[in-house]
């Protein structure tokens, strides 16, 4: 269980996260949704220990910042793609915390092999990462995060640069990971897609949690539209599945 209590993060004097309180059960998928600047990525970075904060973030009653053995993996929105590094070498970097930098145990090589197989990357293990397509790179990032054998996996907009086919393929993979007991916290712009996979939606706006609950309930709540300044509308498909789209109206930029 992850407990976030009265979490405040300041940049200079501005509070970019204001009194965040969340309880996230183990082995669940929570999706942070909100407009740009809502504080979603800052919340993920704070959970990694990159931002100083007040309040507390605990994993199984231990403060995350003090728990060096806790394994939290991160899948970035904009990866840093090195030249002259193969897919297998890049994925192997995920073992650095367990093996030590620059070392590879036989066990790690097996884990990397398994993960490359699971993410359909085995055929391209020797290919350089800077020659991959967006969808292939996203699978490499997920494979790199998975070989970390994380207890918690943070994904920042994992599907933002992908076409629909690859979005579904990546989200299906994340769902499989969740089924193994890993706690997933992702940010996503697309609430429809988020609600389709995550059992929980957390709507953020201006550094605050505006709505937090079971996906279906959040999507149908009247506060959802006000969170997006009435710029969205909720429609129902024939099978009852909700679809949220941007409302057509005059916008000032």
């Amino acid at each position: 269980m992850i407990n976030i209590e009265n979490l405040i993060v300041r940049f200079d004097n501005a509070e970019v996260l204001q009194s965040i309180n969340l309880d996230i059960p183990e082995g669940t998928w929570s999706c942070l949704v909100g407009p740009n600047g809502a504080g979603k990525t800052t919340l993920l970075r704070t959970m990694l220990g990159m931002q100083p904060y007040s309040g507390s973030i605990k994993y199984n009653d231990r403060e995350i910042a003090k728990n060096k053995s806790l394994n939290i993996a991160f899948v970035p929105q904009r990866p840093s793609i090195p030249a002259a590094m193969s897919v297998a070498e890049y994925v192997m970097l995920g073992r650095a915390k367990l093996d030590g930098w620059g070392k590879e145990s036989a066990h790690s090589r097996n884990i990397v092999h398994e993960m490359l197989e699971a993410t359909q990357l085995l055929g391209m293990q020797s290919q350089l990462v800077n020659t991959l397509s967006g969808g292939e790179m996203q699978r490499v990032l997920i494979a790199r995060a998975l070989v970390q054998e994380p207890e918690v996996m943070l994904l920042d907009e994992p599907t933002s640069a992908l076409d629909l086919h690859h979005q579904i393929s990546v989200l299906n993979k994340v769902e499989e990971i969740k089924a193994t007991g890993v706690t997933i916290i992702s940010t996503m712009h697309d609430i429809t897609l988020g609600a389709m996979y995550a059992e929980r939606i957390i709507i953020m706006q201006s550094g605050r949690v505006l709505l937090d609950g079971e996906s279906h309930a959040v999507i149908h709540s009247p506060e959802l539209r006000s969170a997006f300044d009435d710029r969205i509308s909720v429609h129902q498909l024939e099978n009852g599945r909700p679809v949220i789209i941007a409302a057509k109206r005059e916008l000032t930029i």
Partner: protein
């Protein structure tokens, strides 16, 4: 993964070949010149065996050529390794060791020494160049705001500080036109000042910096990931960058103050080694150091012998080789991306 093992053997072979190339380059460097020395006699002299060189030849080898070759090797290793590290830290394959204003700062320091030095220029110039280079990098960090804001802020701050130092250097040169020629000559690089005293102090700083860089080379892998991923693997990328930049700057500032500005080594050598090893540059630092050292020793041999008895600035030789190589790499990259 048998392919991994094959790759590892291949990479060690490249490191061993680079070390052998350095030894051969050093032998050629001490052997050839206006007076050629016999290789067998050189080896016997260096190993303290009988029938070595005697009299003037012995002095020529031990007091003139050997310190020059050793200094060339140290400077080449420093520039090539620093270039490779800067390319990792700034995630930019075209980053070179003079990026953060160290060259302009050293140039300003050297100009101050030349315009005001008068007496013992050879003693003053390296000290002023070293101080100028280090102070310029310190100013870059200061302008960037925080100790390690982010690579692009630091890069822009380096450009600003470098421009300021260059402007000040030009102002000093305009006020003292007699300094133009020695400053220009220094800017093109030279190893003529080499003696065992210079080798000792330059070697001290360069070897410390190289030892630090090779020691942290594996953790530099973390800089290939996003900062968030590096944190998730228990590494603070800011700290690693700071240590890497500090050590690379120390090596560069020392190299510049001992030999002037020698261009292209920091870009050509890492690209060359990366092309051979197919590895990210931080994973081949030892090979890069050896190849950089060999490259500069051979370039200096060319500088000494091509127009003998006159001597070319070594920076001219490295630019003659480096610029076409650079264009070749650029074309190859473009072809690859099409």
């Amino acid at each position: 993964m048998k392919q991994n093992q094959i790759d590892r053997v291949w990479r060690w072979q490249i490191t061993a070949s680079a070390a052998a190339a350095l030894l051969i380059a050093c032998l050629l460097g001490v052997g050839f010149g206006p007076v050629n020395l016999d290789f067998g006699s050189i080896i016997r002299t260096l190993l303290g065996l009988p029938n070595g060189l005697e009299n003037e030849d012995r002095t020529l080898l031990l007091e003139l050529r050997l310190p020059r070759v050793v200094l060339g090797a140290l400077v080449g290793a420093a520039l090539a390794t620093s270039g490779a590290v800067y390319q990792s830290v700034f995630r930019n394959p075209l980053a070179d060791p003079y990026l953060l204003g160290v060259a302009s700062g050293a140039g300003l320091g050297a100009t101050i020494a030349i315009t005001n030095g008068g007496g013992d220029l050879h003693a003053l110039l390296p000290i002023f160049a070293f101080l100028g280079g280090v102070l310029a990098v310190a100013a870059t960090f200061l302008v960037a705001g925080r100790l390690f804001a982010d690579p692009s802020t630091l890069l822009l701050a380096g450009i600003a500080v470098g421009s300021f130092a260059t402007a000040f250097q030009t102002y000093l040169q305009q006020r003292n036109s007699a300094a133009l020629r020695p400053v220009y000559s220094w800017i093109l690089g030279e190893l003529t000042v080499a003696n065992w005293d210079v080798v000792k102090w330059a070697g001290f700083y360069i070897l410390i910096a190289l030892a630090v860089l090779i020691r942290i080379s594996k953790v530099l892998d973390a800089l290939m990931l996003s900062d968030e991923e590096a944190y998730s693997l228990g590494v603070s990328p800011q700290k690693i960058r700071m240590i890497a930049v500090a050590a690379a700057t120390l090596a560069t500032a020392t190299a510049v103050s001992a030999s002037g500005l020698i261009g292209f080594v920091g870009i050509v050598v890492p690209h060359l080694v990366r092309g051979l090893t197919k590895r990210a540059t931080n994973r081949s630092l030892l090979s890069i150091a050896f190849v950089g050292a060999a490259f500069l020793v051979i370039a200096d041999l060319g500088a000494r012998t091509l127009l003998s008895p006159a001597e070319l600035p070594i920076g001219v030789i490295t630019a003659f080789v480096g610029a076409p190589f650079f264009l070749f790499v650029l074309r190859a990259r473009n072809r690859g991306s099409q």
